[in-house]
Symmetry: C2
């Protein structure tokens, strides 16, 4: 059953003994939500604790600071930023059909909870947690502000992406009234790179292929390349590489071909405002957003490139 | 004479025929201020035009869009984001002693105008222009919002740096109610890199020296290196390189040694919260902020490094 912020806040005041679940392979938003909500519920006099199927990356460990561990048997399960019970990972089997309240912001989702608060226009699920705290009339503190800010920043690329709204900045303005080291935090989330990641990016750039007067840039992440770097990078260093080709000045269409199995490749397409990436991917039974889309193509790398390139060139020639 | 926002707004309503001056080597804040204020004054029924000593970089040309050029003889000169009349560049000689109103946010400045509105706590001078428009009761539009947002984003590294305040986000929230392509704009300001810049960064990383278990990273930008890249990069591609060493995970102290003349080197030091960069630079008669400071050392590159390294190592060993 779909509910609004007021109803969710009323419920959270009513029940107790909360177990808060984040999605597996956790990011700043799901963890920010969990630890902020945990802090808010504890301040409201409730028992609350958090769980996640996977470990928290070292650079996000600060989110767990200052939450007091409470020993109790949980009675009420809340999931945060989880669009599908499968995304709970190994916790799906244990808790997947017991979720009482799901708080989320994904547009496409599969309902699994008894009650669901979902706002697809929220840039981050943390926006909803902020509004819940406000409605519950629980004052924030530095620690909770840190968690909520992390969620906003992570899901918007530090307020850069098109999902950022006036509300996102308004909430950030409220959070900034608290005291937390947001510069250091943004440095860790956005600027800091491991040596291994820098070397991986260097090799990807060296092998980048350019077409149509450099308006198309393409990289191939083969198993061989990824295996060769695996020892010197963390698994999360392989994230976010799909954005690389489009970052080169003049590139209108950035394409990443990532090998999934021997003859199976996942394609990510990022485009400038002039080109519809989704239309290109639909030709290969994929889809997505106008400026970021994807598809899967089977065949050898050469066959995949031969299939893709004519469609990419057509899209670029159309804007000339 | 120092004045406040109310007084500045009242003056701008009173006078007419404005010439608005940006500082030389213009950035997003000085240009955002100029074109926003120009739009605001024109909407208030005034004549207004902008001038800058230097050309506007292609990636910021959009700021000049949609401002209607007006032909008139100026009577009132306003400078924006200019901390010293010398920073007007070649326009200093022409207009430097005729500035009626200076609007600025720099903490250290030399007064040169008849009236000055300065707020050192403003992250960007554009915050003051926003408040002037509000006080003048001139409604913004998409074009003016674009300019003001650009100023906020540029001077805060897209809301990442420690100068960002609650007010910065509050103003951004207000600006986001207008319609402008902030994702594309942030992409151009922060993500996009020329091929030449990527190659320059690669070489700098390859030559980066690490000390004290990788807690110190140091790069040397010699004349030879810069000359070799000069043909394949824009002059502004040489900006922002001082931040590179500190971006490597684990680095507490990032040092850039930039050759100015044969035996003269400018040192930039960036540090984590644990280390005071300014204290290090003070030993070489330099200074700055706790986390970003600089100094100049004379000698051969080897002599400069030999002088610096013991001080860097001492600072890092102190935190172990």
């Amino acid at each position: 059953m779909l509910i609004n912020v007021e109803r969710a806040a009323r419920m959270l005041r009513e029940y107790d003994d909360y177990l808060i679940l984040s999605h597996a392979n956790p990011d700043g938003d799901t963890l920010g939500c969990a630890y902020a909500l945990c802090g808010i519920l504890q301040k409201a006099g409730k028992n609350a604790k958090c769980r996640c199927a996977d470990e928290i990356a070292p650079r996000m460990k600060y989110l767990t600071d200052g939450i007091k561990p409470q020993e109790f048997e949980h009675k009420t399960i809340v999931s945060v930023d989880v669009a599908d019970r499968k995304l709970l990972g190994s916790l799906n089997e244990v808790y997947g059909d017991e979720v009482f309240l799901a708080i989320d912001h994904h547009r496409s989702r599969t309902e699994f909870a008894e009650f669901t608060l979902v706002e697809p226009d929220a840039a981050a699920a943390c926006e909803l947690i902020y509004e819940i705290a406000e409605t519950m009339n629980v004052p924030l503190d530095d620690k909770i502000a840190t968690c909520l800010y992390t969620g906003l920043a992570t899901d918007t690329g530090c307020f850069r992406f098109s999902n950022t709204t006036s509300r996102t900045h308004y909430i950030a303005a409220k959070l900034m009234e608290y005291n937390f080291p947001y510069e250091e935090l943004n440095y860790r989330l956005f600027d800091m790179k491991s040596k291994g990641r820098v070397r991986l990016e260097q090799e990807i750039f060296d092998k980048m292929e350019f077409y149509c007067d450099d308006k198309i840039a393409m990289v191939c992440l083969t198993q061989e390349l990824m295996d060769r770097h695996r020892d010197s990078v963390d698994s999360e260093d392989f994230n976010g590489l799909a954005g690389m080709p489009r970052k080169i000045e003049g590139v209108e269409l950035g394409v990443t071909i990532k090998q999934k199995e021997k003859d199976v490749f996942k394609i990510s397409v990022r485009s400038s405002e002039e080109i519809n990436a989704s239309e290109i991917c639909e030709k290969f039974d994929g889809g997505g957003h106008a400026r970021a889309a994807g598809c899967t193509i089977e065949g050898t790398l050469e066959e995949v490139k031969a299939a893709l390139l004519p469609e990419l060139k057509k899209a670029v020639e159309r804007i000339d």
